[in-house]
Amino acid sequence: MRRVSVDIGGTFTDCFLVYDGQYIEAKALTTHHNLASGFMEALENACAELNLSIGQVLSTVDAVRYATTLGTNALIERNGPRIGLVTTAGFESTVPLMRARGYGDGLAHAEQMDLPGADRPKPLIPMTMIVGIKERIDYKGTVNLSVEEEDVRAQVRKLVDEGCQGFVVALTNAVVNPAHEKEVERIILNEYPTYVLGATPIVLSHRVAGRKAEYSRTMSAILDAYLHDQMYHGMSSLEVALRRNGYARPMLLVHNTSGMAQLNSTHSLQTIHSGPVAGLEATNYLAEQFAEPNVIATDMGGTSFDIGLVTADGVKFYDFNPVIDRWLVSTPMTYLHTLGAGGGSIARFDGLWNAVEVGPESAGSDPGPACYGRGGKLATTTDANLVLGYLDPDNYAGGTIKINRRRAERAIEETVAKPAGLTLIEAAKAIKRKVDANMASAIFKEVAVKGYDPQHFTILSYGGGAPIHACGYAGEIGVAKILIPPFSSVFAALGAGNMNQLHIHEKSLYLMLYDATFRHVLEDYTVFNQTVEELEERGREDLVRQGVDPKDVQTRVEMDMRYGNQLAQVSVMSPSPRLSSPHDVIALLDKFSNNYAQRFGEGSQAPEAGVRINVLRVVSYVEHERLTLERSTASNDDQPKARTERPCYFPQLDDPVPTPVYDHSDVAEGMHLAGPALIETPRTTYLVEPGWNLTMGRMGSAVMVRDA
């Protein structure tokens, strides 16, 4: 296998190169002005390890795959085009009002609670760029008021006069009957044909999202249109750079649905958060290869802590209404929970509880922790880690970042220790304990709310900060085993290299499996089967367009079900792809009942209130060859030689403990270390706390197990 996988992150571009059985990791700084530069540099670094030129590698690899944060950055910078929205007359304020609650979407809880201080984000579409056309389709798809061509032309011209550079057409109930959206598209194209210079992209809401809910669907389409140009140009420049260097195949973009596709089959919205999702996909694969049935993926960076789940029952967790930046959308995205906790999280004394609090405010990377000496004066998690002895001031991040212990001490003394009446060390311990507890609580809730017991899970710890805190948060929730993955510093890139080509299509419907009012179980399966067929066809078309042989396309039918009129929509994988008998219906009802009970408790099911399918979803995919990641079974009783030793403080112990410090290159596969111990790598530090034991695995992986 020869494959290049790249994760273009906010700071670093990570590259993972597989070349005839060799696995190479490399990094370069992300170049936001031109992604291709950083991409090529990372690739060049990887090729250098093989003593090959980029051209040699690119001309022979099977595939180049990548995840990117380009879309997220474009949103943050608000430098998208001027978009015009054509919507149903009467619905012009739907987007500006953001379902009321939208002011708080994407914000921390404390900001959401502050109503006097609540501000909606700067809109992507100003009110003057929203027009209503007279048309109406009802919930069943019946046309109540047809589209009138002159009305549409008049409204569209208004937008063009206002400087419109792209259209979004989002009409009521378009997912059940898209005729009006298509008609508006036809009229716009007639007015502004694609061959003229003034042509603008047109995004129809029903093509971006298949669910009912006009606000979140319209926002999905708006984001798609807003990011379209920038994403297209960014991606195209990459493709051009690769072609110039001999790569002749299409590139594959990682999607946030845990799949990937070519540029011609990708909505810009699908690329948002694709890096973290690739990390979770790598977790999925690792769990399979390492025979770890239940894994909690934890990725701690400078400002955030991502949590994802892989479970033995194979349930896929999606977020059907994810918030992207500050915008609620309705496209399915692989579920990841992000907590505002990282090395930059700011610690403070909370006078109300007479206790130390950490986050969610963060010093980020600018000014960063006080110890960075870039102007930050507030104590952060990283400052506490330094004071407690876990970090080496002279060898932090492989010596690339200089950190100053005195600055960290002063910040903790001034902002935490003195107000709390604690000593410096007591305050630093309290910070460590609190940040671990915060992460533990978040993990606990994420796992427990889905009906699983965290104690039955292994924690997978990657990202710059996680291996220092893993023992802390794992211990707090009673998890006894921690896994540090191979190639942990480019773990998301590894995930990108290991995904299937995949598309998800879904459609809202109102299908009563059991109507409690009339005590009737579904007998007519036409709607179910026809909808599945329609969605399968769309998935197949997507893949065939990318050159996939139709014979290789596989599908999975999923649906969102609920009791009565609940909000909860429990995702169920259909036992059979079509309904053909009462047995199929009962099997589906049973499956739903089991899933529901697992999540909310046995006995909580309420079939007496009726059972409904709200959304049908078809996942169409084609399997790709996977990497080989083998778990180490080696045992090596030799003891590695510590490079040095320094006193470390631990929250559970009163006195400092002399802690040996190892360089990762000295700890061979199969070697065992008892905590306390520190293992330093160029990009992170593994902290083995007292009461934990580490065994080194292959390719930089490690397992930490708590004393029984």
């Binding site: 009912k212 109300l352 309290a430 609580s441 809730k445 427990a448 009129n565 909310f600």
Partner: protein, 753 residues
Amino acid sequence: MGGDQEKSVIEKFLEENVLFLGPDPEIMEDHSLVPASERELEALGNFDDSDKINLVRHKLQTACNESFDMVEQMGAAPGAKWGDLISGVWSMHGDLAMASMGGVLIFSVLTQHPTKFILKYWRDDPTVGLKPGDIFMHNDARYGNIHNTDQSLMIPLFHEGQLICFTGAIVHEGENGACEPGGMPSAAESPFDEGLKMSPILVGEHYEFRRDLMTFLQNSVREPKLQLEGMKSKLFAAMRMKSRIDDIITEYGVDAVIATLRKTMTDTEQETRRRLATWPDGKVRTNLFADGTLRENCLIKIRCELDKRGDELTIDFRGSSPEFLNRANNTVLASLKGMLAQEFLSFVWPDLPRNQAVFAPMKVLTDDRSTLHCSPEAPNAQSMMTFFPSFTAVQIGVPKFLYSAGHRATDIIAGWYNMIVTFIYGGVNQYGELVGNVCADLNGMGGAARWNRDGEHSIAPIFAPMADIGEQELIEEEVPIMKIVPNKLMKDANGFGKFRGGHGYQQIATMKDSSMWGFMCCSIGSKFPTTMGIFGGYAPGCYPLCKVKGVNVFEVMKDRRDLLRYTIEDIMNDQPFPGAKYTTHHMGMQLEFAQPGELFMLTQGSGGGYGDVLEREPEAVSQEYLDALISMNTVKNIYHVVLDEESGAVDLKATEKARKAERKKRIKRGKPYEEFVAQWETEHPPKNLPYYGSWKDRDLIYRGSRDDTCPADAIVPVMMPNPKDVRIAELERELEACKRAAKPRKKAAKARK
């Protein structure tokens, strides 16, 4: 037998012969924390490390939040879906110690009462008792909570035979079998018209509902499905929380839980006192008026005096309107306190934890049997119609303290819009099910202007952050309501000012695909604004309910699309549908059955303005004009800005001149204070005004006319005539007059014959 002995015998007899255990004033009128018991003090002695307590608190908070998510997901009530609920942990004495971070804050202060009732009356009662596995429910607002549409469920948590705490949840369930569907009947003329009346009741044991009681409850409401799902969701959420607390006890010991719950409350109260102490001492007075009972127009006085001394705040509502014995707008005192707590938890100190201790340093004074402290005989299903304006009276008084306060947790604001402007509905939906509930879009109340910037348009209700107005496509999939206009910002619907309040939106609804469907609405403020601006900012406008009958808009869509209009003002001013009847009303509409295609139109109100309109930045005025949020009339005559009608370009010099001229006019209109008072003050309320409450003398209460008064310490409740009877009497008078007028003509005709 001595005198004392005789007395005790009588007391014993009376104790043993109680007709029934009605709402207990001792419980209902006390919002202070129960003092720490010996057991709690012992636990605090054993578990006193602040950082450890903080960790346990964090775990308890996570449990509350998890439980909240469960109720929100599993519940079927629209209220549950938009977050009109709370889940929490009550101490062993029944005080709410911790609550979920999401949900309705009013409940923070209101959920203690039923729990305390259970402890006081059922715990030792041999026919009820209190043991592990018991499930208690309650919904009667006279025993706690906001109104009967809210249902609460609590389960006790025992450890080694000792009661440690309660866990549970409260949800605005909606339908409750009242005389009108949807759970908030404005037509209720007595508590017995308000549907289910659950005093705290044991509905299950061993964590299972009793089937007979479940059936009874389902049989008592229009939506048996909703009742079932609501009960199950609350029970399983409470059980999940209990199981989490059991885990915490295993990890940290039982003292950790007892100590943390107690310390959370005492620390919160102390923090509130610390913050209050930074306010300047003094008094602030505000008067507001509710302009109707939802059945008729009248002026209902809300008299409010805030008196801050040291670390306490007294909120004095004495002198406010008497109770209405046959109207649903009365407030149980505890509900009023819950709403007032909301002001402090959401709008003054949103960073404080959610528990009842926040309100402990406040004292509330009311007259017995006033509409803000009604008797158990008075209906209260629409208590919001008096406690929302009471909330606003406090909200517009508080900034005067906050300006000089030593501690401010958020922005200073004018009055938030405070009315639930939406449709309550009932009938048979498109799937043949009988349903009744309320639409979520009541949550789009306009935000108040702030000291340094404008308010946000239709952003949140006064009772909950992060509330949702929902998605129209999902609503019309479940009920046969089609919103022709679901939420469109209304031009000039605004509290003007240097910084303006957030606009409200209008909605135009109709019905389709139902054989029987009715709408209700329940707001005041069609004649007198319900919220206010501050420091010179304007109050928002007054908004009527508008109806168009005798039209089927779906026929118009088919045949006469040129007649379609998409704003209330265009429909009501143009009256485009031939033969239709266009009417305006106050926003208290009792259940009215609708024909397909008829239009019902409402306007969500705006927040109040802040500061002088003449100080508003002309560019901000121009932008609002371009966004079609204000008319040229407002630009010219309110803001006195001169701009180009086409481009919106501001003429700064001309604006300066126009504003200068307006300032001169103001000076000319002004008069010395004494002169103003002499002209303004009268001895009595205006003769023809149905006025309720005190006028000059706080101790004298008017009961609808200047001739009908009662002392404030002996209020005589008001009985209102049935509006239909009033109308019949009017028509009879008209008929009589017609007959009288016709008589001479008849005589003359007879004579001619």
